[in-house]
């Protein structure tokens, strides 16, 4: 019995010894960075020579579009020796994105690129970042909290043009299905409303027969479209709210030999979609040069990080609508390989 007692006590003492070492370590860290707190007072941080600026991009989840933005950003920030850039994964969970924003704040990041999973959920974190003097640049999905700048594809008008192009390809009549994003994301509404309004304006007698969620995912789109086709085999057109879902629709159409009969449009314009258009499978997509989007977002970051301009100094949140092209078989050749992401 006695042996058992001492074993517990020895364990307990070891824990205290190590624990105090940890506290000391943390304490030392606190001592070393008192300067951190001065930012709140609004005086721009004194740029001692050789200090590096930390920037990071928190994507919603690893996917072709955010990967392309990241490449574009890196192309601009890379050569500037002064800036460190990192791509972080939000694991498709709001609580992870919020935690990552707070970690970056504590890291004293200068600029945070963010593709918010939910426009409202990330607002408090953006406010916190602003209070810490950090500029936030959102990509593609805006947030309800005003912030440094928002660079997005032209969702609404782009979708309207897709509707027009699809209607033309379908000869102005027939049934259309939408493969949509999960609820609660702003661009879902922008791209869907744009498409529906576009149909009303240009092709009133085209009828939207189905609007099913396919979670941005190619495989999910395959399953969902299969069942929609079962219900309406005479479907004339499919609008994938992003290319992955559109390519899923292409797989199904190819398998069922309906390629010629269904007009399939995607959105974003990733390489796989452009190649599918060249192969005559995908009818068309709204192509945005996403590298360019990254490249445009990056310089704003550099200015905000190094130029001493405070994010608060902006009177109104700057918005940048990316130019786009409705790429179809006709004009897809004009997109240079270097522009393909």
């Amino acid at each position: 019995m006695q042996e058992e007692k001492t074993n517990d006590r020895r364990n307990f003492l070891k824990t205290i010894a190590l624990g105090s070492a940890a506290v000391a370590g943390v304490g030392a860290g606190m001592f070393s960075a008192p300067g951190d707190r001065s930012l709140a007072i609004g005086v721009p941080r004194a740029r001692a020579e050789g200090t590096r600026y930390k920037t990071a991009f928190i994507q919603w989840q690893p996917h072709t579009v955010p990967a392309a933005w990241s490449k574009g950003i890196e192309e601009v920030l890379g050569p500037q020796q002064v800036i460190d850039y990192e791509l972080l994964d939000g694991q498709n969970k709001v609580e992870v994105q919020v935690s990552l924003v707070e970690t970056l704040i504590s890291q004293g990041a200068a600029v945070i690129f963010l593709q918010p999973i939910d426009s409202v959920a990330l607002a408090p974190s953006i406010a916190k970042a602003k209070r810490a003097g950090i500029s936030v640049i959102t990509l593609n999905i805006d947030a309800t909290e005003p912030h440094a700048s928002h660079v997005e594809m032209n969702h609404y008008y782009g979708a309207m043009d897709i509707a027009k192009a699809m209607g033309d390809a379908m000869g102005g009549k027939g049934k259309v299905a939408i493969l949509n994003a999960p609820p609660g994301i702003i661009i879902r509404d922008q791209r869907t409303n744009g498409f529906v309004d576009g149909l009303k304006k240009h092709h009133p007698d085209i009828q939207v027969v189905a609007d099913q969620v396919a979670d941005w995912d190619r495989k999910k789109a395959q399953d969902v479209l299969n069942t929609i086709l079962a219900a309406n085999p005479d479907l004339g057109g499919v609008y994938g709210v992003n290319d992955s879902m559109a390519l899923g629709a292409v797989d199904v159409a190819k398998e069922k030999g309906l390629l010629g009969k269904i007009a399939i449009f995607g959105n974003d314009g990733e390489t796989a979609a452009l190649e599918s258009i060249e192969a005559g499978e995908l009818t068309g997509t709204q192509y945005t040069d996403v590298y360019q989007q990254g490249r445009l977002a990056a310089p704003a970051a550099t200015v905000l990080a190094t130029g001493g301009v405070e994010a608060g100094a902006f009177a109104q949140q700057s918005r940048l609508l990316m130019p786009y092209v409705i790429a179809t078989k006709a004009n897809v050749g004009s997109i240079q390989p270097s522009q393909r992401w």
Partner: protein
């Protein structure tokens, strides 16, 4: 940080929780040394604000495991309660002080349903809570205010009673310490976590109900023979897990000022991992509140530490899996060694 070790001093340190505290301290020291800017006040702040609700969830998960069950549905209960709060606040226009108790009640009720399925329908806990995981998540999508009322997708919750949970206290300032060292601000969610910890720890280790929980988990048959109403104890354990899920949901809704349909998805696995790492044995009857809480903060420290080191997060998944395996292996080693000591002791005695 000091508060952790003061609390642990009170709790009688059995070898399992001592090893966990040791491992936690070692992890902190490791990251302080290797991860840039880890050893700063704001990291502590992030750890507290980002992982207090995970700790509460882990403590809640411990109760079903203590009575030889498991609860896969607490992630879905978080989502459901979050959506109920969203609807009541933005659609029902109910004042915050009414919504809080209703939310807690809803969570406890959802948990109690699990208990009833396990006890009265004699379903295996894994299957019962797997079914309610799917059912509650489906319900969350069904009652989602953001889909029912399209305008609401971008309107945040502003009710001070709800968003108030996300306030920070300059404890360092009050204690006058912030002049000496850069003290972290303590979020209210951390204080709530501490309160939940104290209440549940006392409930578990010093009340009649706590004794019944341990008895039911330790030796189900003997508990019934000792006149303990085993069925009610099990239902109460699942209701407590649901209540903790509700508290976690309230904290998260305050933090995001909205509720998403996928809120809390996957958190049940993190809660189970934190509880098991925290020394709660899946065989039932062993474990307290200190372990799961510390387990949750351990996982949090690893996520933050890795991010600061620039290591991609999926490495965190691998590390969590490895730690969980090590914790279970250690737990098994302990029980095998105790078994051998018991037989040796009895033969030596004759």
């Amino acid at each position: 940080m000091a508060s952790f070790f003061r609390i642990s001093a009170i709790v009688n340190m059995r070898s399992a929780s001592a090893a966990l505290a040791l491992f936690f301290a070692a992890t902190i020291v490791f990251f302080c040394v290797s991860a840039p800017r880890f050893a700063t006040a704001s990291t502590v702040e992030n750890l507290m604000s980002g992982f207090s609700f995970v700790a509460i969830l882990a403590m809640g998960q411990a109760f079903p495991i203590l009575v030889r069950g498991i609860d896969l549905s607490i992630g879905a209960i978080v989502g459901l309660v979050g959506m109920i709060v969203f609807d009541l606040s933005l659609i029902g226009q109910l004042p915050g002080y009414l919504i809080l108790p209703l939310a807690l009640l809803a969570g406890a009720l959802a948990g109690a349903v699990n208990g009833v399925l396990v006890v009265h329908l004699r379903l295996q806990p894994f299957i019962a809570t797997l079914a309610t995981l799917a059912a509650y998540r489906g319900l969350t999508y069904a009652i989602s205010g953001r889909q029912l009322v399209p305008g609401l997708t971008t309107t945040p919750i502003r009710d001070p009673w709800l968003t108030g949970i996300e306030t920070y206290f300059d404890v360092g300032g009050w204690l006058g310490l912030s002049r000496l060292v850069n003290m972290p601000w303590v979020p209210l969610s951390f204080v709530i976590m501490l309160a939940v910890f104290v209440v549940l720890q006392v409930l578990l280790t010093s009340t009649r109900f706590g004794r019944d929980i341990y008895a039911t988990g330790g030796n189900h048959e003997a508990a019934r023979l000792a006149g303990i109403r085993v069925n009610n104890v099990i239902i109460a354990a699942y209701a407590l897990a649901g209540l903790c899920a509700a508290i976690a949901a309230l904290i998260m809704v305050a933090r995001f000022t909205t509720a998403t349909e996928a809120l809390g998805a996957g958190m049940e696995l993190t809660a189970i991992a934190a509880a098991v790492i925290g020394g709660v044995s899946l065989a039932g009857g062993v474990g307290a509140m200190f372990g799961p809480a510390l387990g949750a903060f351990l996982l949090g420290a690893i996520l933050i530490g890795l991010t600061l080191q620039g290591v991609p997060q999926f490495v965190q998944q691998i590390i969590t899996g490895a730690i969980l395996l090590a914790a279970v292996g250690y737990d098994r080693l302990l029980s095998v060694r105790r078994q051998r000591r018991l037989t040796a002791a009895s033969t030596a005695a004759t």
